[in-house]
Amino acid sequence: MNSRVLIVAEHEGAKLNPSTAKCVTCARGIPGAQITIVVCAVDAAAVAAQAAQLSGVARVLCVENPANAHALAAVWAPQVLAIAAPFSHILGPSTTFGKDLMARIAGLLGAPQVSDIMAIESATRFRRPVYAGNALLTVESSGEGQLVGTVRTASFQAAAGGGAAPIEKAAVSVELPTHTRFVSVSAARSDRPDLQTARRVISGGRALGSAEGFKILYRLADKLGAAVGASRAAVDAGYAPNEMQVGQTGKIIAPELYVAVGISGAIQHLTGIKDARTIVAINKDGEAPIFEVADIGLVGDLFQIIPEIERLL
C-alpha cells in the first residue's frame, strides 16, 4: 500500500527550520511513503532548494503568495487545503508553528489529527505521549479518509541531505482571509546554539536566584558550545526569558548532554528532557526528583560547582 505524505515546511525567512527534516524521517517510517514537501512563502525558491535536498523527498511544491510573509495559520491553512486532496497523510512539526497550523488544516478537512507523533507503527497506527508523557498512547485510524499529524521533533533524527527532488510551483487561487494580521515578533537574539537542536544544553532553575545568577551558566555554556535553557520556575521568576523554557509547556528537547543546574525536576520539566541521551543533575538537595532520572548526579552548591567545572575544562 502506498501512502502519499504531504509535509508542511517550517521556515524563517529564507532558512528551512530543522524541524522539517525531522518530519521527513517520521514520514519515511510510513510504509511505501511518497513524500512531498510544501513551502508556503512569498518567494519559496531558497527554502524549496533546501527542502529538495532532504533525502527521501520525492517532490517539493511551492505555494507563493504575498500574504505568506508570516506563518499565519488562518492564511496558510486554506492554501495547504487547496493542494491537500491527493494526500493520505498531512504532517507538520509539533512546534508552535505546526501545532497552530496543522489543527486548523484538520478542522478544514474534518479529518482526525494525531498530535505529537513519537513513533509510527503502520500507515494507520501511531504512538504519542499523553498526560505530559506519563503515559504513551497507541492510536489507530480507520485508514479511510485523510489523516493530519504533528511530529514530535525530539523523537526523530533529521533526514540527511544529498537528495535532489524536483521543485514545482503549485497554482493556488483561493480567497485568503484578512481578519488576522501580523504585528511584530520579538526574539532574544543569541550567538549560542539553538535550544531545540543543540547537542549540549545547560539549564538553570530557581536556585540560580536571579538573572544575574544565570550568568555563570552562560559562561559555562559558551565554553562547552552549549545552549542555555531554564525551568518554568526560573522563567516565572523572571530569571530567564520565556523562549528558554524547557518542559512540557516549553520546549521538548533531546540533546546528547543535558545538564540540569539547580532544577528540582517537576514532572512537566522531566517530560521535556526525557529523550536526552545523558542527563546530569547538580542540586544541593540530594532528594530532588531530578536525581531519579539523572545518569550522573552531583549533590552540592552550584555556585561552587559551576565555576569549578569551568576552571577544570
Binding site: S141, D236, N242, K251, L298, L312
Partner: protein, 249 residues
C-alpha cells in the same frame, strides 16, 4: 449583549501521579481527584477580567462530556462565570466533535470572543481551539500571554518558539491561553454556595445536531520507559571524568 464563551474540560488534577492501568486500557481514574483543566482556568480568569474591565457583559462556560463534568462547571460558576452550558456526551470526545458542539453554542450565543485552554492536560491534543476557528471561519490566536481588546479587534501576544509574536485579529475570534496569561483567582466558599443558584443548562450532542463520532481508536496505553539508574559523583572533577568516559567531552 457582549458575551465571552469559555471552554471547560474536566481532567485528572495536575497534582495526581498518573498511573497506567495494568491492562493498558487507560489510566487509573477511580478515586482520583478531578479538576478544571488548568489552561481553561486561565481562560476563565481572562474572561472574568475582561468583564470586570467593562469590555464584556456576560461570561458563559461550556463543556462537552459526561454528567460528572457538571462539577467543573459549578466550580467555574463559583469562580465567577454567569451561566453554564453542558453538552452531554459519553465516550471519547475528540477535538472535532467538541469543536462542532462549541460552534453550535456559538451560533446560539453569538459571543464576541471565545477563549479556550491551549490544550487539555489529559489527552494533550491541543487542537480544539484551532479546529473551532477553522469551522467557524474566524481568526485564531493560540498560546496567548497577553490580550488587549479594543473596538472590533484584539491584539494578542503569543508565546511561540522564537519568542513573543503579536497578532491583531478581528472579532469575533478564538483565543487559546498559555500559562503566563494570568494567575487564576481562588474560589471562595460563599461563592460556591452562590454558584448553586446560577443557571446550568444541559443539552445533548444529538439535540445540537452533532454526531458523536470517534475517528481514532485508542489501542493501548503504556507506561513510559524507565531510565536506568544513574551514578552519583562527589565533585566537579569526578563529574568531568564521568562525562569524558562516556565520550561526551
Amino acid at each position: 449583549m457582549k458575551r465571552i464563551l469559555v471552554g471547560i474540560k474536566r481532567v485528572v488534577d495536575y497534582n495526581v501521579r498518573i498511573r497506567v492501568k495494568p491492562d493498558g486500557s487507560g489510566v487509573i481514574t477511580d478515586g482520583v481527584k478531578m479538576s478544571v483543566n488548568p489552561f481553561d482556568d486561565i481562560a476563565l480568569e481572562e474572561a472574568l477580567r475582561i468583564k470586570e474591565r467593562g469590555l464584556a457583559e456576560e461570561v458563559i462556560v461550556a463543556t462537552v462530556g459526561p454528567a460528572d463534568c457538571q462539577q467543573q462547571l459549578r466550580t467555574a460558576l463559583a469562580m465567577g462565570a454567569d451561566r453554564a452550558l453542558h453538552v452531554q456526551a459519553d465516550g471519547v470526545v475528540e477535538p472535532l466533535v467538541a469543536a462542532r458542539a462549541l460552534l453550535k453554542l456559538i451560533e446560539r450565543e453569538q459571543p464576541l470572543l471565545v477563549i479556550l485552554g491551549k490544550q487539555a492536560i489529559d489527552d494533550d491534543n491541543g487542537q480544539t481551539g484551532q479546529v473551532l476557528a477553522a469551522l467557524w471561519n474566524r481568526p485564531q490566536a493560540t498560546y496567548a500571554s497577553k490580550i488587549e481588546l479594543s473596538a472590533g479587534t484584539a491584539r494578542v501576544t503569543r508565546e511561540v518558539d522564537a519568542g513573543l509574536e503579536t497578532l491583531e485579529v478581528d472579532l469575533p475570534a478564538v483565543i487559546t491561553t498559555d500559562l503566563r496569561l494570568n494567575e487564576p483567582r481562588y474560589v471562595k466558599l460563599p461563592d460556591i454556595m452562590k454558584a448553586k443558584k446560577k443557571p446550568l443548562d444541559t443539552l445533548t450532542l444529538s439535540a445540537l445536531g452533532v454526531e458523536q463520532r470517534q475517528q481514532l481508536k485508542l489501542v493501548r496505553f503504556d507506561p513510559p520507559p524507565q531510565r536506568q539508574k544513574g551514578i552519583r559523583v562527589t565533585d566537579a572533577a569526578e563529574l568531568l571524568a564521568a562525562l569524558k568516559s562516556k565520550g561526551l567531552l
